[in-house]
């Protein structure tokens, strides 16, 4: 079996966002593998460690810097990587076509991808890839178990937790708490150096963009930040209650 894990590289959540010339300035900032995707890489590894025979291929579609994220995934234990290099911002629907093409060529049976992108806040990629391939998608999974070619598990639905079963192939989207991603060990970091990263160009996939971005604007709402000492709980509470009444019209 072959498992693809789609990964992206994004601004570390702890870094502040600075907008210049309508783009988020990444220069000198800490960039990391999107944590949402990292859960997918981890889960693929665990599926293999629980006994499934699988080759795990990580796929990144983005600028040259994505290679760092691909290396991290290889150090975690993925077998090889495919890097479709482009500086273009490709919308998730257009991107899904590329992923589907790779999945077909690689004859993948399972595709992992993060539930939501930490930069463009999109949740579309997993479902869109599944649609291209005419596969089912299990989104927002919180527990997975592979029995033969049947994938069982639990996922977060809008109104509760759903238990499911599905026959492979399938797309799976991942989120926090599905697992705790491992740190690469030092020996594995050294080993990853020799693993293959295949480079391809976006052009060879002939994608047509579906959405164009006109840039971003920072939204820094100034906050009052009036912080008081609450050791005298009653006094602090009454200050807060008064403030809610006067400034917010609550309990008016």
């Amino acid at each position: 079996m072959r498992i693809l894990a789609i990964i992206r590289q994004v601004l570390d959540a702890e870094e502040s966002v600075y907008v210049d010339n309508r783009t988020v300035d990444l220069k000198g900032r800490k960039l990391v593998m999107d944590t949402m995707d990292e859960y997918g890489v981890e889960e693929a590894l665990r599926i293999r460690e629980r006994g499934a025979e699988a080759e795990i291929v990580v796929v990144g579609i983005g600028p040259a810097r994505f290679e760092e994220a691909l290396r991290s995934a290889l150090s975690m234990g993925a077998d090889r990587a495919i890097h479709v290099e482009t500086d273009q911002e490709v919308d998730p629907i257009a991107l899904s076509g590329v992923v589907a093409a790779i999945a077909r060529k690689e004859e993948a049976q399972m595709i992992f991808c993060g539930g939501q992108q930490a930069d463009w806040d999109s949740q579309a990629l997993g479902a869109a890839v599944a649609e291209h391939l005419d596969w089912p998608a299990l989104t927002w999974t919180r527990k997975l178990e592979l029995k033969g070619t049947t994938l069982a598990g639990q996922r977060d639905a809008e109104d509760g937790v759903e238990s499911f079963e599905v026959d492979l192939p399938a797309v799976v989207t991942t989120q926090q708490d599905l697992n705790e991603p491992r740190y690469p060990t030092l020996p594995n970091i050294m080993k990853a150096k020799r693993k293959e990263i295949r480079r391809e160009t976006l052009e060879s996939f002939g994608v047509a963009l579906k959405v164009r971005s006109h840039g971003v604007e920072a939204q820094n709402r100034e906050r009052l930040r009036e912080v008081i000492d609450g050791r005298d709980a009653a006094a602090a509470a009454s200050q807060l209650v008064a403030m809610l009444r006067e400034k917010a019209g609550v309990m008016a």
């Binding site: 300035d25 000198g28 760092e68 740190y183 690469p184 020996p187 050294m190």
Partner: protein, 595 residues
């Protein structure tokens, strides 16, 4: 994997060369030269430190040693405890650069850093370097996995700095199977959780010898935890040895050669202490910047005030120069190590070669950390003084660094003493260099064109700093001759001058090496060197005043002034620029970050 798998670009240089030679940027190792793999290791370690060390800091500080031990095992699983362990024993043997880098990156808590360093540094290195194959086979895997924690027991209640004067005795048992150890040890880091102790004792009261002693050995008692000012989450206990029976197989190295083990290990302990000080300073700088950025006074973030900005710039420049000095030294040690299997003598030689750098790093690094902590403390104002804020802990934790691994006084004495001794032995061209400077100043102003480039002025400042250092060494030796060691204050000033030179030059070379890609490095180096040179001149004046009088004093002062002549850099403006970037990044950075 040998050190060759990680890039290094350090030329083979001799120890102490920084004073008498002018190196080229390409000849030193800098943090920018770390390989992609090393950077990945650094990131993992830093992430682990933030999440699992800082994330559990209250527990750690409350001496939950089960937790500390678990964290050590976790590090062991990641391979982070086997960086110095030879491949033959399942280790990685990645070299001193990697080892220092991990020590640097783990340093977010004084307590945990001591636990870590006392294990991988002074704890494990005696065995790694001097252990027999059987000893290594027996103990290294357990230590590399973190299953056992290691400790190093040299100090005693009445023998700290004066470590050769230890009173613990060892005598061969009548059946010849054991050494019987009697005595006590004091201040032993990790003692409360250690599985293996390297204990130094004198066989028959005279032959300084190291012993590997397992916890639980009859006759070995670990005393109660000390109640400490800082690093409260680390374990520090006395040991009592009452007819403690240590099997003869557990003698480490040769009988009577234990002091080599003790001191060589300390050299490494010293650069590691500096690496950890640099990491600690970087952490506290981040805390200070983040607090200051959010703290509003007079309607503005306090980081917008010049006097606060100056503290941030000072500390950032200190961290930059500290990194430069540490990585340069470990890079040089790696380059001096022979490839492949190394005998204890080869290791000893390579490390001893850089003993002076290690001592400088120890005292300069610990004092740099203390400055950093104090400055960042000030940004916190009153909040810095209460336990809820990390800087309160950092303030208490930093103090120990000036005490252990050889007090800063002892390391200053070693620094100058080593230099003088090398010169006397003719192994360091100090005397010709001094003579050259003397001749040069006597000959009057030279017409040498100032070096060009973004850091041309700094290159000539560092060159002049060296001349000042050489001149002062000459002046002091001229006055005191072999009695110099009796003049500790002067010896101390010379050590401080050597430190300024070593660290400034490291900053200079580092910045030059990456000047094009890294304009921030150029700014930080300029800032550091400008202030370092000011300190240098003050030291020179103070020294000359202590060694000369009358006409000699006037002549020597004229020389000092001539060597000190330069166009000063506006460090106020430069400092503001530096701070703006650090505040935008919310941490120390060498990149151009806007925000």
């Amino acid at each position: 994997m040998s050190t060759a798998t990680v890039s290094h670009s350090s030329r083979k240089v001799s120890g102490g060369a920084f004073l008498v030679e002018d190196l080229l940027p390409g000849e030193i190792f800098t943090p920018e030269d770390l390989s992609d793999e090393q950077k990945q290791m650094a990131e993992i370690t830093a992430d682990f430190a933030d999440k699992h060390v800082l994330g559990n800091i209250q527990e750690i500080e409350a001496k939950n040693f089960d937790l500390s031990r678990k964290l050590m095992r976790d590090l062991g699983e990641l391979g982070l405890l086997s960086v110095d362990v030879p491949e033959a024993y399942g280790g990685m043997e990645l070299g001193h650069v990697t080892s220092a880098m991990l020590t640097d990156k783990i340093a977010v808590s004084g307590s945990f850093s001591v636990t870590f360093s006392a294990h991988v540094g002074i704890g494990m290195l005696p065995l790694i370097w001097y252990g027999s194959p059987e000893q290594k086979q027996k103990y290294l895997p357990k230590l590399a996995s973190g299953e056992w924690i290691a400790a190093y027991a040299l100090s005693e209640a009445s023998a700290g700095s004066d470590a050769m004067n230890i009173h613990t005795r060892a005598a061969l048992s009548p059946d010849g199977k054991h050494y019987v150890l009697n005595g006590e040890k004091m201040w032993i880091s990790n003692a409360g959780m250690a599985g293996l102790f390297t204990i130094f004792a004198k066989v028959d009261g005279e032959k300084f010898t190291a012993f590997l002693v397992e916890a639980g050995t009859p006759g070995l008692t670990v005393g109660p935890e000390e109640h400490k000012l800082g690093i409260r989450g680390s374990s520090t206990c006395p040991l009592a040895l009452v007819d403690c029976l240590v099997p003869v197989e557990n003698v480490l190295g040769e009988i009577g050669k234990g002091h080599h083990i003790a001191f060589n290990v300390l050299d490494v302990g010293r650069y590691k202490l500096a690496a950890s000080a640099v990491g600690g300073a970087r952490t506290v700088l981040r805390d200070g910047i983040r607090y200051g950025r959010d703290r509003i006074a007079f309607g503005k973030p306090v980081t917008s005030f010049g006097l606060i900005q100056e503290k941030i710039a000072d500390t950032a420049a200190d961290v930059y120069a500290g990194e430069a000095a540490v990585y340069r030294t470990v890079g040089a040690i790696d380059a001096a190590m022979p490839e492949g299997e190394k005998s204890p003598q080869q290791i000893q030689r390579a490390i001893e070669e850089f003993a002076v750098e290690c001592s400088i790093l120890k005292f300069w690094g610990s004092e740099m950390l203390e400055r950093a902590v104090d400055k960042m403390f000030q940004i916190f104002g009153g909040y810095g003084f209460v336990e809820e804020f990390p800087v309160e802990r950092a303030y208490r934790d930093s103090r120990i660094n000036k005490i252990f691994e050889g007090t800063n006084e002892i390391n200053r004495l070693i620094t100058t003493g080593w230099m003088v001794k090398r010169a006397m032995q003719g192994r360091l061209a100090l005397l010709p260099a001094i003579k050259k400077v003397m001749d040069e100043v006597m000959a009057g102003p030279s017409l040498q064109a100032p070096p060009s480039g973004a850091l041309g002025a700094e290159r000539s400042l560092v060159r002049n700093a060296k001349k000042l250092g050489l001149f002062c060494s000459g002046a002091a030796s001229q006055r005191f001759g072999t009695e110099l060691s009796e003049q500790q204050e002067v010896v101390g000033m010379l050590a401080d001058m050597l430190a300024e030179i070593m660290v400034s030059e490291s900053a200079l070379l580092r910045a030059e090496k990456s000047a094009e890609q890294m304009p921030m490095g150029v700014r930080l180096a300029k800032y550091f060197i400008a202030n370092s040179f000011r300190r240098m001149v003050m030291l020179a004046e103070k020294l000359v005043a202590a060694v000369a009088e009358g006409d000699t004093l006037r002549t020597q002062m004229a020389i000092v002034r001539r060597l000190a002549k330069h166009e000063p850099v506006n460090t106020v403006a430069l400092g503001r620029e530096i701070t703006a970037t650090m505040v935008a990044a919310g941490r120390y950075t060498v990149e151009e970050v806007r925000g």
